[in-house]
Symmetry: C2
Subunit: 247 residues, 2 copies
């Protein structure tokens, strides 16, 4: 057996997220079924980012064990023939033995997009959160700096069954402004459940003045979901890239 | 009575075009219904570009007679509250007496977008025709030059009940290439039915070598739909702008 590595893009609008669940349509579900038609049996997929319902991906990475003779280009063509343009295999290739899309990943990069113009835009509505009203990028950047680095991000994690640790290292949290489009780019070793959307929701409340940019340390210290801002809606979020190699 | 002028954007994917038709969902239909809720009765809309099923608009213009005291800003808010983000009123304002979105328009500008990359893109799939394979922009530009100006465009018109004349003046037909994205921008006084999509379909056949760039005059002279290339699919087409004022 060898390992095949897929680079994936998808429009998450009509999916209940990545992870296979009984009775609902998920990216993993449709992809495993499509791969099953090529391979003869459904593979067990490993994925770098288990995106939530409505979240998109431009640079998701998944991997699965495959028979040695399987041509990755054939896998790509077959899956794209079945699933494009909603789910697209951007590339497929053999990975070194032992490669696992989730365990081998050293960092993930997400981009959250916000439209601040008073009027909605039909052309970006699926991928950008329309939240009319000015946001102070100065205040947002000040708050973002306080969140960088290694912290216990429990306040920015959905209160689901707690993972072993809620400590993560946020390497980048950058605010960009292009006209009426505000982008929040986040890079971390790994993210907690709804962490990017919680960070964005909090930064937006800083940007519109409801929260003080200086209060981030207090929010972190609280280790309570209720201390942070509201979770931003899923459709503004896209998994952009997964990093492999040295941490 | 005064006249209100609307600047509209819409995602045409889930509409059977602009023009109201019984039993199907059209942009005119949903817009007239929404305006009817604000005005108390459905207005009679005039529109600059009667876009086909699946065609989008960024800068469509429509107008209707309205009671003198009606605040255009209220119309905009009410319609956007009902229809955004699929259909959006970008602006609403009083127009000079006698203004009619269709009759007063002096030119229309359309943009057709083509993705030539081998793999589809989930993020642009609704608004861009995915047609893998290189296109020669040199050949396309040569052909486009031969189509500029006043011609009988019968070969580029859907063979429906013939209009009084199929002579139109094509002021601009510009090819742009940005990475894997080819854009065809067309400006004319007015367009015949499916004319932009017929021009694009023909230019694509020139771009991939099936048609000779020097054959445009022959195609025009034939005055027959079958002389031109295949009609490009609707979803790549967007009405960008309508011009008013001196011809």
């Amino acid at each position: 057996m060898s390992v095949i590595r897929l680079l994936l893009a998808y429009d998450g609008t009509d999916f209940h997220g990545w992870a296979r669940q009984p009775g609902v349509r998920t990216v993993e579900g449709v992809l495993e079924e499509a791969l099953g038609r090529v391979l003869g049996e459904r593979p067990r997929l490993s994925v770098a980012g288990r995106t939530d319902a409505g979240v998109h991906a431009l640079g998701q990475v998944a991997s699965f064990p495959a028979p040695d003779g399987l041509d990755p280009a054939r896998v790509q063509r077959a899956v794209n023939g079945l699933l494009a343009p909603e789910v697209v295999v951007r590339s497929a290739r053999h990975a070194p033995a032992g490669f696992d899309a989730r365990r081998s990943a050293t960092a993930r990069e997400y981009l959250y997009r916000i439209r601040t113009h008073p009027v909605a835009d039909p052309f970006t509505a699926r991928f950008v959160w329309h939240r009319p009203g000015l946001l102070s990028s100065t205040a947002m950047r000040r708050a973002a700096r306080a969140l960088l680095g290694e912290h216990d991000f429990a306040s920015f994690c959905r209160a689901a069954p707690a993972p072993a640790t809620t400590v993560r290292t946020l390497r980048r949290l950058a605010i960009s402004v292009t006209g009426d489009l505000v982008g929040v780019r986040a890079v971390a070793d790994a993210f907690l459940h709804q962490m990017v959307r919680s960070l964005v929701g909090t930064l937006v409340e800083v940007g519109d003045g409801r929260l003080d940019a200086g209060s981030m340390q207090d929010i972190l210290d609280a280790r309570s979901r209720s201390a942070a801002g509201k979770v931003a809606p899923p459709h503004g979020l896209t998994l952009m890239r997964v990093f492999y190699g040295r941490k």
